[in-house]
């Protein structure tokens, strides 16, 4: 089975090619092809998973990609437990979302193109997951970025969408820049791109005491790589693109910006965990942990203040990703990946639920909703399950994974634990804020006529809800926490599950929910007064800490300005300088005339200009009077004589 691993990305790619080639002429206008592709990949992945449970070592297949100086560059795919887990998540969740999209995107003018992009995304994501080397990882990494760009800008007639797509691509590319440097650094210190070899060398301390600018080189390399993750997984400070990315169709948000692509950052950190782990004093890990922690908390706070249902979910995604990073950072290798998996399911579920709501309401504003519980029950229930799972209410999936992360954090860094705990409190709060706004009570908007979504949309919801409910048990102690053995990093001891601790987590979640109920359901304290009370703090948060504005001032405008300046520079100054070089004799006073003449720039042209001026002036020596010429002879003779005699 595992020999077929290479098919996993190829199948969706083939689907992509087919749709691009034939478009609407395909069955289901291409949708079925796409679904078939991803489904087959899913089947293979499951097969590999089952086979993998037998526990034979990682599988690698290589391809001679290009001659590479002295030695050829062989690159390929690697299948191990980590990969398999990701494959499962991506293909299964992906398949669900594809199916859902058939309903959601129904009647869209660019319907086939949507599925083409989605398939391309799936292919790239799977390549990223399967890569056995940094280069392919990077390739897949960039390609998913491209797909996200294309899909965010799917409704490119909307300027906001166009802008958002570009913002997403560029912001992530800033991260990729660091990642690429990290890759270069690693290649030049270890001479390979292959994970296996890299890890082996690093493990035997090949980079032991190398330093770069005073810092231990390995740490630098790891942090540079992490830079890429920061971009992809929308960690502070590169998180601003993800909320805007919600301009894309909801299934896209669900697949790319909740379940899979954004998780790629976390996956990458896990994939190259050796580098982080071996870095001096876990230095790199500490960075990861704190970035994660801050992101988690910050995003959570913002989520509380948002009224756009998808934006709330977007910020919650950011915050959850931060939580995963935090987990990885505090040696919670398993915990991090575990949360990645569970999160993929319930967050996809939530997004699809939100999508179905939006599909019904034609608006994203929760303030306009309400009373939908009666109108669209299955959406309501599935959404509720998702929310509970996210809030970490046992025994749903989120509870187990989040609890593990908090446990690890508690063990290693109390401060981080505090952040995590606060985050999960807020998480519960804002999730139920959304619920209380949306489902109970009565419909606020008057011109909307909501209705339950078609089965093709609701069924995937239920499937995902099922996963969201049960998948957490793979981490349940009374079942022996199989995940802990499946995904493990040798050299890290697992934190022991403790019921007491779990209770605390549960209480936190409950507290959050109760608060939300108090404010938004029973209206014990009206939210308005809260806002007033918060005052400037609220303003700060509701404006997302002004990060976008800050970047606008710090980076965007300067770049554009510089570019503009350089352009002028190029038209005038460079030429001017070059001119100056050749400007030896002629006074600066004349300089402006150089521009009047049709020869403006360049030493050569300047030469031409000087020449012309000289020519124009010199020609008047040619008076036309014979005797002036004769005088010239005489003087010439005299000068030559002088030159000859008094040399």
């Amino acid at each position: 089975m595992v020999e077929l691993a290479w098919l996993i990305p190829v199948l969706p790619l083939a689907a992509f090619a087919l749709i691009v080639a034939f478009g609407r002429r395909l069955p289901g206008e291409g949708a079925y092809v796409a679904i078939a592709g991803i489904a087959l990949s899913a089947v293979i992945s499951i097969g590999i998973f089952i086979q993998g449970l037998a526990g034979d070592g990682p599988y690698e297949a290589n391809l001679r990609w290009m001659p590479f100086g002295a030695f050829p560059l062989d690159l390929g795919i690697r299948v191990d437990n980590l990969t398999t887990l990701m494959l499962l998540v991506v293909t299964v969740v992906g398949a669900m979302i594809f199916i859902y999209s058939v309903g959601y995107m129904h009647g869209d003018p660019r319907y086939p193109r949507f599925f083409a992009y989605m398939s391309l995304f799936a292919a790239s994501m799977l390549l990223l997951v399967l890569a056995n080397n940094l280069l392919f990882l990077y390739a897949g990494w960039e390609l998913v970025g491209l797909c996200s760009y294309l899909l965010i800008g799917f409704y490119f007639e909307k300027p906001s969408a166009a802008r958002a797509s570009m913002k997403a691509f560029l912001t992530t590319r800033v991260g990729d820049f660091f990642m690429f440097l990290g890759i270069l650094l690693i290649f030049f210190t270890l001479g390979t791109f292959r994970f296996e070899e890299i890890f082996a060398r690093v493990h035997e301390g090949a980079l032991g005491n190398l330093t770069l600018g005073g810092l231990p080189l390995l740490t630098v390399a790891a942090v540079l790589l992490f830079g890429g993750a920061v971009g992809k997984s929308a960690q502070v400070p590169l998180h601003t693109w993800l909320p805007d990315a919600m301009e894309g169709p909801t299934p896209v948000s669900a697949l790319i910006h909740a379940a899979t692509m954004v998780a790629a950052g976390v996956y990458m950190v896990a994939r190259t965990y050796m580098l982080f782990f071996e870095s001096a004093g876990h230095g790199a890990l500490t960075v990861v942990a704190y970035v994660g922690g801050i992101t988690a908390l910050m995003a959570a706070t913002i989520a509380v203040t948002q009224d756009d249902i998808k934006r709330v979910l977007a910020y919650s995604t950011i915050s959850q990703l931060g939580l995963m990073m935090l987990g990885l950072g505090v040696l919670g290798y398993t915990a991090g990946m575990f949360h990645l998996m569970t999160h993929a399911f319930f967050k996809a579920l939530l997004f699809l639920g939100a999508g179905s709501v939006i599909h019904a309401m034609h608006t994203n504003d929760i303030k306009e909703m309400g009373g939908l519980a009666r109108i669209m029950p299955s959406t309501y229930w599935t959404f509720l399950i998702g929310a509970l799972a996210l809030s970490g209410v046992p025994p749903l999936a989120g509870f187990w994974s989040k609890d593990e992360i908090l446990l690890e954090a508690f063990r290693h860094a109390p401060l981080l634990y505090a952040m995590g705990a606060l985050t999960s409190l807020l998480t519960a709060f804002y999730m139920f804020r959304v619920i209380f706004y949306t489902f109970p009570g009565t419909l606020r908007s008057h011109h909307a006529h909501p209705h339950e979504s078609p089965p093709v949309m609701t069924r995937p919801l239920w499937v995902l809800a099922g996963f969201a409910a049960v998948v957490g048990f793979v981490g349940a102690p009374f079942l022996g926490a199989p995940i802990a053995h499946y995904i493990e990093f040798e050299g890290i001891a697992h934190a022991k599950f403790s019921w007491g601790f779990a209770l605390v987590s549960t209480l936190i979640a409950g507290a959050g929910i109760l608060l939300a109920a108090a404010v938004y359901h029973w209206k014990v304290v009206p939210s308005a007064s809260l806002r007033r009370a918060a005052g400037p703090l609220y303003a700060l948060v509701v404006n997302k800490y002004y990060v976008d504005e800050l970047y606008g001032v710090l980076f965007v405008r300067p770049t554009v300005a510089i570019a503009g300046a350089l352009r002028t520079f190029d038209v005038y100054v460079v030429d001017l300088l070059v001119n100056l070089v050749g400007f030896a004799g002629i006074g600066v006073a004349r300089l402006y005339r150089a521009f009047d003449l049709y020869v403006v720039d360049g030493l050569v042209n300047l030469l031409g200009w000087i020449a012309q001026t000289l020519g124009r002036t010199l020609r008047y020596i040619q008076t036309g009077r014979a005797q002036n010429y004769l005088l010239a002879i005489a003087l010439g003779v005299i000068v030559l004589l002088a030159a000859g005699l008094f040399r």
Partner: protein, 103 residues
């Protein structure tokens, strides 16, 4: 003091520069022509003098001088002809008025 080569050379030098002066300053083309004749005569004095004092073995100098005289005659002929035609068509014999073409 003995009459020597240098005497003749000095004379020719003076004559030459006189001729040159005429060439440079006289407006009338004919006068310029006369200046040229003086310069040629200066050269001839040199030639003959050198022939006597430096290379008496052969008569190259005198032959040269004779050739120069002939050339002078030819130049005079052609030159004066040109003057005539200029006088006809340009209505002037003054060098500085003959300057349609310049620059």
């Amino acid at each position: 003091m003995q009459l020597g080569l240098t005497h003749f050379l000095i004379l020719s030098a003076l004559l030459f520069s006189l001729g040159l002066f005429a060439v440079l300053t006289r407006r009338n083309v004919v006068a310029i022509l006369m200046g040229i004749e003086l310069m040629l005569n200066a050269a001839n004095i040199n030639l003959v003098a050198f022939n006597k004092y430096v290379a008496p073995a052969a008569l190259d100098g005198q032959v040269f001088a004779l050739v120069v005289i002939t050339l002078a005659a030819c130049e005079a002929g052609v030159g004066l002809a040109l003057v005539m035609s200029a006088y006809r068509h340009l209505e002037t014999v003054h060098a500085d008025e003959i300057n349609i073409m310049k620059w």
